[in-house]
Amino acid sequence: MKTLNIALTGLNNIDSPGPGIPVARALRSGGLDPLRIIGLAYDNLEPGLYMHELIDRSYQIPYPSAGSEALFNRLKAIHEIESIDVVIPNFDAELHNFMRISDRLRTELGIQSFLPDHHSFEMRQKTALADWGEKLGIKVPATRTAFSWSEARQIASEWGYPLMVKGKYYDAYMAYDADQAAAYFYKLSAKWGLPVLLQQIVKGSEVNVTALGDGSGACIGAVPMRKMFITDKGKAWAGITLHDDRLLEIARTAVAGSCWRGGCELEFIKTPDDHYYLIEMNPRFPAWVYLAVGSGQNHPEALVRLALGEAVEPMTHYEIGKMFIRYSYDQIVDLKEYEHINTHGWL
């Protein structure tokens, strides 16, 4: 049987981890045999580069800021060595470029991917999420955009504090007064540009869903989880799968309403009176995606099969009450390896 060569990014399995290593682990525990996993790394210290039991070989790729053309050329060069069958990008910031070249990857190089189209990608952007949620009947906390601090202050005085101040692409801070809000406004506008978003606080517990859409509206898999403990970076330290049919229903509505193609993570706040507010829809698998595998749904494997054109039956069953508890681990690495990736661009 021909070896399946799968390339993936997101090897930064650090304290705020990327999903690459969990995705690789999911693929290894599926039925895709024989399988070869090729890591694509931005930084030479991404731990996944050195996890040879999971990643067969890794290559450096250009930063998203270098543009889609540079990415395509680099993937082409890697493809000549590795004959990549499927590529799975796992970072938000790189998705735009991958989506842009996905047709060329398929037609010119024969590399498959399974990504949302531009339209569905855009409708879940932070600045558009509230409108989109309204259309689908999904609650989204009141969100307003501000192009200047005076505009933001005006909104804040209508709403009162605390409120969330969010960057156009990333980062969010809770502001308890105008001074804090102003500081965050300037910090976020300097980093991500205008507008800055203001969002009303919704109190409740954070519940998330990792899901996979087939691009035609069907939800191939979805597993809900509640974060049991959160690190100071806001990342889940431990989580547990839930029995929550309403949450799953909302998740399926979001996947169907966007005709989502690929993996995604839906972040909700569940209020004490059982309302669900969609906070964000991340356009890739979450770092905790292996919990879905552990509870019976292998989303990354299903994604690969979909990318290869296989029919995949929707998965509905998962074990309730399965937990993940994240741990960190100090790999011991020889300088030779670090030297090799630095000087040759692959390891």
Binding site: L335, Y338, E339, N342, T343, H344
Partner: protein
């Protein structure tokens, strides 16, 4: 000559030591520089300084320069060694070597002997 008159002369005298050091670093053709102990350089141009934990990369001509330094060659010998093999004017090479040696010093890879 204005430089030889009064106050100007004194100022020049005052700053003479640092200027000399600068010139030594940059221009003394017979000066010897030593590659610091334990600096490891691989064939691929990867340099590791075990004293600081820093690592670096250099290009192949940079590698040649470092290996000539290791052989105990002087600046002049290094310059000559490159001039006979590479297509470069002496003035440009000297300027580039000044910069390279300056960076080697900044990164604690060499010390002036």
């Amino acid at each position: 000559m204005p430089l030889c008159q009064g106050i100007d002369f004194i100022i020049i005298n005052d700053i003479k030591p640092p200027i000399q050091i600068l010139l030594l670093g940059a221009r003394n053709e017979n000066e010897e520089m030593k590659v610091n102990k334990n600096i490891a350089i691989s064939e691929s141009g990867f340099i590791f300084n075990p004293g600081t934990g820093d690592s670096f990369s250099t290009n192949s001509i940079g590698q040649e320069v470092i290996s000539m330094l290791n052989e105990g060659k002087t600046r002049d010998e290094i310059t000559q060694g490159i001039l006979v093999r590479y297509e470069v004017e002496k003035g440009i090479l000297e300027k580039d070597l000044d910069d390279y040696f300056f960076m080697l010093g900044t990164y604690h890879i060499v010390q002036n002997g």
